[in-house]
């Protein structure tokens, strides 16, 4: 399998604080990797550096062999779906409009075609019946599922999830996790920042433990969650499994 996303020696600091210290990792087509780690460890910054919502200080990111830079950033972002912690749905648009606005405005797809595809995506996340509802009329879990459908609308090659369930009540978390698991099963390439152990166990090919801007340990979920080598990984996992 070919590498679709390559992150090579990525550095980023805010003011004097070093957030990413030479991160390297890669994703092959169809792989799902889950990033765990304490808050402030740089996980979200890493995701944002991938599609350049944050510009890294050094290192490079490649999507399917093409280096991501200022010049091609919009082009690259169209090929990477991004799901935010707090959904960030467009509040003046209905669920289905949220899903098709990008294909219509960016790819100049005709509205009927885009609408039909958007409906299929909403159906995929189990929200076909909410197509005409506005974000403010949806629960948090529903909003996040719409935002996943929105991220899929540009037919991305990679999906990035930035703590997609952290803003949700536990009972709403499951409906989002299910959608994500289905997506991983369908062969989507995914990089997920999440502390959902259940999701990581079921769907992840690899779990990476990050702390203070470096990847401390990585391996298959059963190893990281079962018998991690690193003492800090152990301590952190004990903490989140108690929570």
């Amino acid at each position: 399998m070919s590498e679709i996303l390559t992150i090579d020696n990525l550095w980023k600091s805010y003011d004097s604080e070093q957030v990413l210290c030479g991160i390297s990792m890669s994703l092959k087509k169809g792989e799902t990797k889950v990033l765990v780690g304490p808050s402030g460890s740089g996980k979200s910054t890493l995701l944002r550096c991938v599609n350049r919502l944050t510009a890294p200080d050094g290192g490079l990111v490649k999507l399917a062999g093409v280096e991501v830079g200022e010049g091609n950033v919009n082009e690259i972002r169209r090929r990477i779906g991004f799901v935010f912690q707090d959904f960030n749905l467009f509040l003046h648009l209905t669920a289905i409009e949220n899903v098709y606005v990008a294909p219509v405005k960016i790819k100049r797809e005709s509205k009927p075609v885009a609408r039909r595809k958007a409906m299929a995506l909403l159906d995929r996340v189990g929200l076909a019946d909410k197509a005409d509802a506005y974000p403010a009329q949806l629960s948090g879990g529903q909003q996040q599922r719409v935002s996943i459908a929105r991220a899929l609308s540009m037919e991305p090659e990679v999906m990035l999830f930035d703590e997609p369930t952290s803003a949700l009540d536990p009972e709403l978390t499951q409906e989002v996790v299910k959608v994500m698991s289905d997506l991983a099963d369908d062969g989507m390439t995914m990089l997920v920042v999440s502390h959902e152990m259940g999701f990581a166990r079921d769907a992840a090919d690899e779990v990476l433990f990050m702390e203070k801007g470096v990847i401390v340990e990585c391996g298959p979920p059963e190893k990281i969650f079962g018998r991690p080598d690193n003492v800090r990984t152990k301590a952190f996992l004990r903490l989140i499994s108690e929570a």
């Binding site: 991004f82 935010f84 960030n88 990008a102 803003a167």
Partner: protein, 217 residues
Amino acid sequence: MPFLLGGVPIALLIWVVAMSVGIVFGLALAWMRVYGGKIPYWFATGYVEFFRGTPVIVQMFFIYFGLPSLGISFSPFVAATIAIALDTSAYQAEYFRGSIQAVSKGQLIAARAQGMTALQAFMNIVLPQALRLVLPQWSNEAIIELKFTSIAYTIGVAEITERAYKVGYETYEFFAIFLWAAVIYMVLTTVVSEALWLLEKRLAIPGLGVNVGRPEG
């Protein structure tokens, strides 16, 4: 009475042109203040402060009486329209700025993350919401400026107030004539404010209610 009503189209024309120019200039100035670099920011800020800090009647006199000494002269109607347009631009700029900033930043980031350019994100995501949010303040501004058209009488534009003044002098029926003028303004402003209120209700985003500044989540 018909003579007074003859001033209505003139007042309305000044108002419509001035408000339309105000929307375009106001949006451009607001854009400069929110997204522009240092120079556009300072230009827009200077503009807003200058026009908010000086009486519109002084601005109009400057344009009508002052500019001809530079060889630039306008008819009274045009001078009044320009003055009111420039003045309302400054106020509208501030209202637009507030409403643009009230649209949560996360939505802009989400739009950019999908690959929209800054302009696409602004036009498709921020602006439609900002225009809804600005409506209550904008309505207020529209009504204030409608009444402000009356200052055009001072340079002899035959709008409502000017005509009332003239008739009053000819007939000495000041009481009746200015009462009528007041009624005409009242009717105009009521129609405008009701129409904008209906528009506001029509455009309200379901689930957010009318006049909700910044929703949660």
